[in-house]
């Protein structure tokens, strides 16, 4: 998915001389093509994420449209104040491309697990949040973002998922009316789709864009189902579960919500893949089925 987004960026940079790419020394075999083609609009700032965001804000000041790339953990938490003060307060349209979502970096340990990134950014106004779930959505994502005059954060999962083959911000895959509804985003949509393939009464709602939430379409889906399970590789207290709890209360929808998400802890036990942690926290296919049918 990273490659497709970077290809879209390259195409856009060919056509739009305002787009400026920055990396904090990440993206081997991805960024070189941009460096060679657009040397005056390419910057590797080094291992210095605070400076990465500050420089991006300065580029906005002189009229550029920066697109910034590094690992999500460093891109959000390390320079949180720079994002808040230098980007959000100024309303600067910096695009933040963050890789390695959730437990994508599984065996690298808790400093590289990222179950708390977009939830942190959710606390800051003026930043749209995208968690693409498929290649079809990723392909048009950069154009979608750059057509808006706002900052955006993209949580790019590892993988090249063909399904759902839709470029919509919200994708509703129906099950049976009043049956269980799974709501998810990013790579966690895949186990939801597997559960749906085995249990056709299950509906799935895919949220590729988490802010602004498409309240009309999400509300429509929640009205069709008395209970929904929010499946995510993010802490629920700041993730989609929390966001939808607020939404359901404000809209008086009466839908019961359940969280299928990691325990709110930093795990010191090594897992060889993201699936290890999904299993551990009951967010994999089996865990979702257990949550839907506890007996």
């Amino acid at each position: 998915m990273r490659g497709r987004i970077m290809n879209a960026l390259f195409t856009r940079m060919q056509a739009d001389e305002h787009v400026f790419f920055l990396t904090a020394d990440m993206g081997i075999n991805l960024v070189e093509k941009i460096q060679q083609a657009f040397p005056s609009r390419y910057l590797n700032v080094g291992i210095a994420e605070q400076n990465l965001i500050g420089v991006s804000a300065g580029l906005c000041n002189v009229g550029y449209r920066p697109v910034v790339y590094t690992i999500s953990q460093f891109l959000t938490h390390r320079c949180y104040e720079q994002i808040r003060n230098d980007v959000a307060i100024h309303g600067y349209p910096v695009t933040l491309l963050g890789t390695s979502a959730g437990y994508d970096n599984a065996p690298l340990g808790p400093t590289h697990h990222i179950p708390d990134d977009w939830g942190a950014l959710r606390a800051i106004p003026n930043i749209d949040i995208y968690c693409p779930s498929s290649m079809a959505y990723a392909d048009g994502l950069l154009e979608r973002i750059l057509s808006q005059p706002r900052a955006a954060y993209v949580r790019i999962p590892k993988g090249s998922f063909e399904q759902p083959a839709s470029a919509d911000n919200v994708v509703y895959l129906p099950g049976v009316l009043h049956g269980p509804l799974l709501i998810s985003y990013g790579s966690m949509v895949q186990p939801c789709l597997k559960v749906q393939a085995r249990h056709q009464e299950v509906a799935v709602l895919v949220c590729n864009r988490l802010r602004p939430l498409d309240e009309e379409r999400v509300g429509d889906a929640l009205r069709r189902h008395p209970a929904a399970w929010i499946v995510e590789d993010h802490f629920p207290s700041s993730g989609l579960y929390s966001l939808l709890c607020q939404f359901v209360l404000e809209q008086r929808l009466g839908c019961r919500l359940h969280s299928v998400a990691p325990r709110e802890e930093y795990c010191l036990t090594v897992g060889g893949s993201a699936e290890y942690y999904h299993r551990r926290y009951g967010c994999d296919e089996t865990g979702i089925e257990r949550a839907l049918w506890p007996s």
Binding site: G46, N51, Y64, Q82
Partner: protein, 281 residues
């Protein structure tokens, strides 16, 4: 007695702002707004005058995309910044009178909500990175000669992000970027040398590849000369301005509490008297 200090009327802009007059303005708006940051405002008066006198204000007024940039990284010297801006004609006097008061756009830290202020600061260690972005962006747009002047505090440079930015600036040879350090030797609650002793400060910047100019930070001509020299030589240069925190107000000079304390009636009268001005005119 309650005083109603008058903010000075509009100046003849053909004459460079006078430090003593600027200090009176600073005192007036701090007093009227019951605001703090007297000490860090008074130390930078001459630096700000030199910075605004070293750029083409017409380009700034015209909001030319390729204009020179002035970034105030130590945002808590807002009273001095806004006062100097008023004295050079970049900020309306009636607006200045609203400093730190309900409904005003003039907060106690500089804000881009105020016309001609490039960037909002207040949390320290942000301005130099932003200035680097301006400088490299201006160069990419073919305006590499446009100056980017940045005002930093000597306490502020304890922030690690400042050194990230300096390394970046040196690597990319951003010669249009000129950091000016307000070396008043007091950070927040005590002296900088008590907290993080960086003396000799010159060596720190020299070690990062900068030519260092040390000047009397209360000598406008000396500061301007240093800026001009760096420009003329197109070198990586830093200007360390040796200043006195609270300069011009004897009871506030070198006294950390005047980072925080606001002026009472009596303080205001005493401060004005010290500047050779009758109070309550």
């Amino acid at each position: 007695m309650t005083l109603v200090p008058a903010v000075p009327a509009a100046r003849d802009l053909s004459v460079r702002a006078n430090p003593r007059e600027v200090r009176k303005t600073v005192l007036s708006i701090l007093y009227r707004g019951k605001a703090s940051h007297l000490g860090p405002s008074m130390s930078v008066v001459e630096m700000l005058i030199a910075m605004y006198s070293s750029v083409d204000l017409d380009l700034i007024r015209a909001k030319d995309p390729l204009r020179p940039r002035i970034i105030i990284s130590k945002g808590h010297c807002a009273a001095a910044t806004y006062s100097v801006m008023a004295h050079v004609g970049l900020l309306p006097w009636p607006l200045l009178e609203t400093y730190h008061q309900d409904g005003s756009t003039l907060a106690g830290h500089v804000s881009h909500g105020v016309e001609y202020v490039e960037h909002s600061t207040g949390a320290l260690g942000h301005g130099l990175s932003v200035a680097c972005g301006c400088a490299i962006g201006l160069r990419a747009r073919g305006a590499g000669q446009a100056s980017v002047l940045v005002l930093l505090g000597d306490g502020e440079i304890q922030e690690g992000s400042v050194w990230e930015a300096l390394m970046f600036a040196r690597h990319h040879r951003l010669t249009s970027l000129i950091p000016l350090i307000d070396n008043n030797r007091i950070s927040s609650i005590t002296t900088t040398s008590d907290v993080i002793d960086m003396r000799p400060l010159k060596d720190r910047f020299a070690g990062f590849g900068f030519q260092v100019y040390e000047v009397d930070g209360h000598d406008v001509e000396a500061i301007m000369q240093a800026i001009a020299t760096i420009r003329q030589r197109a070198e990586m240069g830093v200007v360390i301005c040796h200043t006195v925190k609270g300069r011009g107000v004897p009871f506030a000079e070198c006294a950390p509490i005047w980072h925080y304390r606001s002026l009472s009636d009596k303080d205001y009268q005493a401060a004005l008297a010290a500047l050779g001005q009758e109070a309550g005119r």
